[in-house]
């Protein structure tokens, strides 16, 4: 049985949604910190913005759940498709030499996956309330995706191979 088919109550669905956004936000912040430390301020700022959006979404979802007691689910008990939440950027995909274009490419991938996650639930959850909410969230993800695509259109740097760093690696210790 897929996760969508098992998603039978709104509280659990909201718990998943909050976790999805918070994990995404934390990861974006982490990536922003990485970029800060490695002196790539534009991409750092990009990730911070993305973190901000995820955090905003998380707090909106929390508002949806006001009055409800959400179940406490251990981080490893979430049955995501992959190893982490669908909107969580993969640390393996980044480089200190990356450009804003790279960052946005990662972000749009995340948004697509988040959309697909909600969409699946909106189609296959046995609970009407869940399906409705999921459809709403899926639609919002599409909006976010569009915003990101507009942002992508505005930037001029490329998402081709990472620019190379002529300096060799250095031994700090």
């Amino acid at each position: 049985m897929s996760l969508a088919e098992k998603m039978t109550d709104v509280a659990t669905f909201l718990a998943y949604s909050v976790a999805l956004e918070e994990e995404s936000a934390e990861r974006h912040d982490e990536l922003a910190d990485m970029m800060d430390v490695h002196h790539n301020p534009e991409v750092a700022e990009t990730f911070r913005k993305l973190a901000g959006y995820s955090r905003l979404h998380a707090s909106e979802i929390r508002e949806h759940s006001s009055g409800r007691q959400l179940p406490v689910i251990a981080p490893w008990d979430f049955e995501w498709d992959g190893m982490e939440g669908p909107e969580t950027a993969d640390v393996a995909d980044v480089s200190y030499l990356m450009s804003i274009a790279h960052a946005l490419k990662i972000a749009t991938g995340n948004e697509r996956r988040a959309h697909d996650f909600y969409h699946e639930i909106s189609e296959h959850s046995p609970d009407a309330g869940v399906r409705a909410l999921a459809a709403e969230f899926a639609a919002e993800e599409l909006e976010h995706l569009e915003l990101l695509q507009e942002w992508q259109a505005r930037i001029t740097d490329s998402d081709d191979e990472f620019v190379f760093d002529p300096d060799p690696a250095h031994t700090p210790e």
Binding site: P75, W76, F78
Partner: protein, 278 residues
């Protein structure tokens, strides 16, 4: 395993310091930091009662990025520092972390003895099959034909250790392998490892994007062990030997006598002084 309930719910951020990690973006160690802090939050351990002892290497910098009591010692000796601390302060939760070079080369002797001694410690080995900090030499877990090191340009020609196999033979009572691409799964593993009474060894496949860019493919190669953990060392040995080293999960778990340094309630010095008098 129980999630602790406290008045104020501990969150992973409580266990992080404000020191931003200096690891290269893409490094697997970020996930280990996440997983450790998630595990500690789950267990709701007061951070001043947790110690994190590290050696030397990129991964050993992890202590500075936490807000625990850390000790950043010298290369390869973290397990010894941890043993002394745990013997003197058995009530603390003592974690040890470092890399494959720190733990299996210079630290190799301390590793096998720590496995055998079975003190209640958790040892997290971030394995990227290279000496990252010193710019890319082969480590004891590097493939024999890896030719990217200037020290061993033809490859080492030496078969690498299987860290889990070494731990098993040396007598470790909890052996697990995690992957930095699965920080949540790793967090769960760490909760089990920390809760396990005895020496817990958690090898974490943690790629190095700078010196081993090919390791960024690990996420496509890693899988979860089909079997759940066993308490039978022979079965565990077979699984480890049959595996290509890319399967994750808790492999072996057994309860052996936990080493505790002998100590009785404090008498005083007077009777000892008296021993000398004629």
């Amino acid at each position: 395993m129980e999630q602790a309930t406290t008045a104020k719910k501990a969150i992973p951020k409580d266990y992080k310091s404000d020191y931003k990690p200096i690891w290269c973006p893409g490094c697997g160690d970020f996930a280990v930091l996440n997983a450790i802090t998630k595990a500690l939050a789950f267990l709701a351990l007061p951070r001043e009662e947790v110690a994190l002892i590290t050696g030397i290497g990129c991964s050993s910098r992890i202590a500075g990025f936490t807000s625990l009591y850390g000790f950043h010692g010298v290369h390869g000796r973290s397990l010894a520092v941890a043993a002394g601390l745990k013997a003197a302060r058995p009530e603390l939760t003592v974690l040890v972390a470092g890399g494959d070079g720190d733990g299996l080369s210079i630290g190799g002797n301390h590793f096998i003895h720590a496995c055998r001694r079975n003190m209640n410690l958790t040892y997290i080995m971030m394995d990227n099959e290279v000496y990252g900090m010193t710019k890319g030499q082969a480590s004891p877990t590097t493939a024999a034909d890896w030719e990217q090191s200037k020290l061993t340009p033809h490859g080492t020609g030496i078969r690498p250790f299987k860290p889990a196999g070494l731990a098993l033979t040396a007598g470790a009572s909890f052996i697990a392998r995690g992957f930095s691409g699965d920080p949540n799964g790793l967090a769960r593993m760490l909760v089990e490892a920390i809760s396990h009474p005895g020496f817990s060894f958690v090898q974490v496949l943690s790629p190095c994007p700078t010196f081993c860019p090919e390791q960024m493919q690990w996420k496509k190669q890693v899988r979860i062990f089909e079997e759940t953990d066993t308490d039978d060392p022979i079965l565990a040995a077979q699984r480890i030997q049959a595996d290509d080293g890319m399967s994750t999960g808790i492999i072996f778990r057994q309860e052996y006598a936990v080493f505790q340094a002998q100590s009785t309630a404090g008498a005083d010095l007077e009777p000892i002084e008296q021993e000398f008098a004629i």
